[in-house]
Amino acid sequence: MKEHVLVVFPHPDDETFGCGGTIAQFTKSGVPVTYVCGTLGQMGRNMGKPLFANRESLPIIREVELEIACQALGIQRLIQLGLRDKTIEFEDPELLTDKLEQIILEVKPSLVLTHYPGHAVHPDHNALGDVTIRAVSRLSPQERPTVYAHAFARDCQDQLGKPDIINDITDVAEIKLAAIRAHRSQSQVILPRLSNGQFKNPSSKNSYNHMLTRESFWIYRFL
């Protein structure tokens, strides 16, 4: 199978904070990456520091930030699902699964990156991860791409054990940082903490995640 990575997350910046280093490693080595982004993060509460966005301008600003971050990470193609922030779990899961299935059949990914349903904190993360995995499970076992599921709930290691993939991303840390900066409205609050080294220590939630050095995933096992 030709290598192609399909990334599926609900909010502009999920791709960067959770998996930006891993995405950059794929694109750097010539593997094409397609990103399906569910919403425009319309209901985010970060408005820039100092404040420059408001509730109505935020989606317009975040759409531009997303395009710049995709360029930084080398993401070739961006597909927007046009959903609304915080509402994914209330949509008809069958319709969303159909949509994801169509995209998967067209893109034919060898690997899918998405949130681990039930272990990804935000209801949108869990809901979109769930329909993505439903869509993959509709394929026959031979056709199914590998799924790297991203989890970061406080108890995820108690529930899931040690991550299957622990990815050293130090070689692309600068690229990830550029993508973090691109999501300006969402990252200005944490950038000072990044530069004073707070993220050099392991995250308290998942000791295999470090913002600029390591990203970890569980390989989803289909029944």
Binding site: M43, R45, N46, M47, G48, K49, P50, L51, N54, R55, E56, S57, P59, R84, K86, V121, H122, P123, A153, R154, Q188, V189, K205
Partner: protein, 116 residues
């Protein structure tokens, strides 16, 4: 947005009196409040494009500010408002932000529906 100016906002509220008005009202402590142990509950609510009509609309307080809109059979209320903007579409945007610039409450009025 700019630091809330009470007299400007009062004039703006008056502009919406006794008309069909689209309302955006929300409050949130962030989707990660429990996860980041900032709170023991993650709490939020929003109404997008509630269609209302109010005959009395007042801003009060010494900052952060409160707004009450009196309708024929009910009230709209928000507190903790710190900033305001009248955007290019003539919508009145009010919000309350914490020191990190994070939105905690918003009350917005428009004569046409807000984008979905």
């Amino acid at each position: 947005m700019n630091p809330l100016n009470k007299s400007i906002v009062q004039t703006e509220l008056d502009r919406f009196l006794n008309r069909e008005v689209y309302l955006h009202l929300e409050t949130t402590n962030g989707a990660y409040a429990v996860h980041r142990q900032e709170s023991n509950m993650t709490v939020g609510a929003y109404i997008r494009n509630g269609l209302i009509r109010f005959g009395r609309g007042i801003i009060t307080g010494a900052g952060p500010y409160r707004v009450g809109l009196k309708m024929e059979i009910g009230w709209v209320y928000a507190e903790g408002l710190t900033d305001y903007e009248i955007d290019p579409e003539g919508r009145l945007l009010l919000a309350g932000h914490d020191q990190e610039g994070r939105l905690a409450v918003a009350l917005e009025l428009s004569l046409s529906p807000f984008e979905l």
